[in-house]
């Protein structure tokens, strides 16, 4: 896991626990300052997630099975106005950003607990894709597609039975 945003240790611990618990692999955490300034689009005032994904892949440990990059910037892909995270299905690298998960962005009072919970959900969701899971229709499953923070709040930090079983099958291949 590559942290590019100076996240609190307590949050990093929670994220590490989630990833170990759900995916069952040893986890290495690295702090890293990536220069992503060239991926900034001044017109959109956002960062191109596709390029950041490639950059994270470049700096990741070649021996790592999967790499998750954690960010604080506003992400976009050319076709979409924003994204919370990005991952390739069955790919090696994923990224997730905490930027759009903040209550303040939606005119609400800050809520750190909720913010952390949302971020952990995005991370586990993206890592699910990295292990081959597609979106799930179960409204409480972590693999449910979420395009708004409210969607994130509705789902739980767990896989439904179907996705869990798919994930177990996928994990057998590693």
């Amino acid at each position: 896991m590559i942290s590019c945003g100076h996240f609190d240790n307590s949050l990093m611990d929670k994220i590490a626990t989630d990833l170990r618990l759900f995916f069952g692999f040893p986890l290495d955490i690295r702090e890293c300052s990536l220069d992503i300034s060239s991926f900034y689009d001044p017109g959109r005032r956002q960062y191109d997630a596709n390029h950041i994904l490639k950059k994270v892949a470049e700096v990741s440990d070649p021996l790592a099975l999967k790499t998750m990059g954690l960010l604080r910037v506003d992400l976009y892909i050319p076709i979409l106005t924003y994204i919370f995270g990005q991952s390739e299905l069955n790919g090696k690298t994923s990224i997730a950003s905490i930027h759009r998960l903040r209550n303040e962005l939606y005119g609400l009072d800050p809520d750190n607990r909720l913010l952390e919970e949302r971020f952990r959900k995005v991370i586990v969701h993206e890592m699910g894709h990295a292990f081959g899971l597609i979106h799930c229709l179960n409204p409480t499953c972590i693999m449910r597609s979420s395009t708004y923070v409210e969607d994130l709040d509705q789902k739980e930090l767990r896989f439904c039975n179907k996705c869990r079983s798919e994930l177990d099958k996928s994990l057998e291949n590693y």
């Binding site: 892909i77 050319p78 076709i79 979409l80 994204i83 299905l89 979106h135 597609s145 395009t147």
Partner: protein, 447 residues
């Protein structure tokens, strides 16, 4: 069973757009392919179908609108969504006029994209379901065993057409095997009642009490074995049609009950006391002379007139010989298809014999003959020897029972060398009976 994945083709000259949409749709579980220009997209469409096409309006070479027109010319009907970086009302209106499903401006809000594709996918599913339901309905309407170019059949078909739209009672008369039930199905399938059931009851196959329970239903405990409430056929035919086959066989008591139901459209289940109302149309069929039965007093006159609002008489096959080649070809197509065989032809001699045959069992007999000939034949054509009349040296006359009996007695007597006791035993009759038969047919031992 896994549902078939909805397939999406993304057409955009920008690689980053293609990749983004590819990854987004793959994560959503769709089957996705991409093309970088219209030419490549059209080649992909020739090779396979896609449910949804998401295409950029501005592409080098052929633009998205032109590509849409070409796709329509290929007689393909994917859901077509136009994407553009430059929103313009004119192009949007034109795209929608040309039949595009929607028009979106890049970049999309993730939620809008999800909704757009989810709605389009539902549309694909609904369209497939609609087609499947329509196919089913067409199958029901397509009473395609009704074949005939003869004047007799043309008259019948024209009567079916004119009577179908009304709710009048119909009596279909005709010899056994002429297709009375098919005519009933055709009337129902072309009537406004076609979306409701056609319920058939073979009156001749049921005893009086069974027929009563079958038609009116029964309440739990109405009789021994009636362990549950059961809907009757009149109740099941609500909104649709009830077809009463062999109506001439029903008992006088059932005739009264039927008359009452036809007059009031209400009835009570056997063992029940609640009046049930049902809206049904009645079509009856018989191979008996109902008018003659009325004259003899075995069929109620009032019931006869209530049922006989319209009478359709189906001519026997021997009176429409010109329909035989059409029917033969129809049954060949029907059975070759159901047996997954190549279509076969008919030997001219076989067809000639079929046209000369009397067909006492009418179209049903012809159909059985063709089915059998396809099963036992050589798989290329129906030969005379594949037909029953071909094997029996083709006789157009039908032997009477007496002639058959006489032949059989002679063969038994010859077999047992005219030993009367042994022949009578083999025939399962007593000696006196056999002597009487010998005398009746004036049989003599030939030395």
């Amino acid at each position: 069973m896994d549902e078939k994945k909805v397939s999406i083709l993304v057409v955009d000259d920008e690689e980053s757009v293609r990749d983004s949409l590819y990854n987004w749709f793959i994560d959503d579980g769709y089957a996705v392919d991409c093309a970088e220009n219209a030419k490549e997209a059209l080649l992909k469409l020739e090779a396979r179908d896609f449910d949804i096409i998401l295409a950029d309006i501005k592409m080098p070479g052929m633009d998205g609108m032109e590509m849409h027109r070409r796709i329509k010319a290929l007689n393909k009907e994917p859901i077509f969504i136009i994407m553009t970086a430059f929103a313009s009302v004119d192009t949007a209106v034109q795209a929608l006029k040309d039949g595009a499903y929607d028009y979106v401006t890049k970049p999309f809000d993730p939620d809008d994209l999800s909704h757009l594709i989810r709605n389009a996918a539902s549309h694909v599913t609904l369209r497939a379901e609609n087609k499947s339901l329509k196919d089913k309905i067409t199958t029901l309407e397509d009473v395609d065993d009704l074949i005939g170019e003869s004047e007799g059949m043309k008259k019948v078909l024209s009567e079916v057409e004119s009577v179908a739209q009304s709710s009048s009672s119909v009596i279909i008369t005709g010899e056994s095997g002429t297709g009375k039930e098919l005519i009933a199905r055709a009337i129902h399938a072309n009537s406004p009642r076609k979306y409701f059931p056609l319920i058939s009851v073979h009156c001749g196959a049921l005893t009086e009490s069974l027929l009563e329970s079958e038609l009116f239903g029964h309440e739990k405990g109405a009789f021994t074995g009636a362990t549950f409430n059961r809907k009757g056929r009149f109740e099941m035919a609500d909104g649709g049609t009830i077809f009463l086959d062999e109506i001439g066989t029903i008992s006088p008591k059932m005739q009264i009950e039927l008359l009452r139901v036809l007059e009031t459209r209400t009835f009570v289940r056997v063992g029940g006391n609640k009046e049930i109302t049902s809206d049904f149309r009645v079509i009856c069929a018989t191979n008996r002379d109902l008018k003659g039965m009325v004259e003899k007093g075995t069929f109620r006159e009032d019931l006869y007139y209530r049922l006989n609002v319209v009478n359709i008489n189906i001519p026997p096959l021997r009176e429409r010989v010109e329909d035989i080649p059409l029917l033969v070809n129809h049954f060949i197509r029907k059975y070759c298809k159901s047996m997954s065989r190549d279509l076969i032809s008919v030997e001219p001699a076989a067809l000639k014999h079929l046209q000369e045959f009397e067909f006492p069992g009418n179209v049903r007999e012809l159909e059985n003959m063709i089915e059998r000939a396809i099963v036992i034949g050589n798989g290329k054509e129906i030969r005379l020897k594949d037909l029953p009349m071909g094997r029996e040296v083709m006789s157009s006359s039908v032997e009477s029972l007496d002639e058959l009996e006489k032949k059989h007695i002679i063969s038994m007597l010859d077999k047992y060398k005219w030993n009367i006791s042994r022949a009578a035993k083999a025939l399962d009759v007593d000696r006196a009976t056999l002597y009487n038969k010998i005398k009746k047919y004036d049989l003599k031992k030939i030395n």
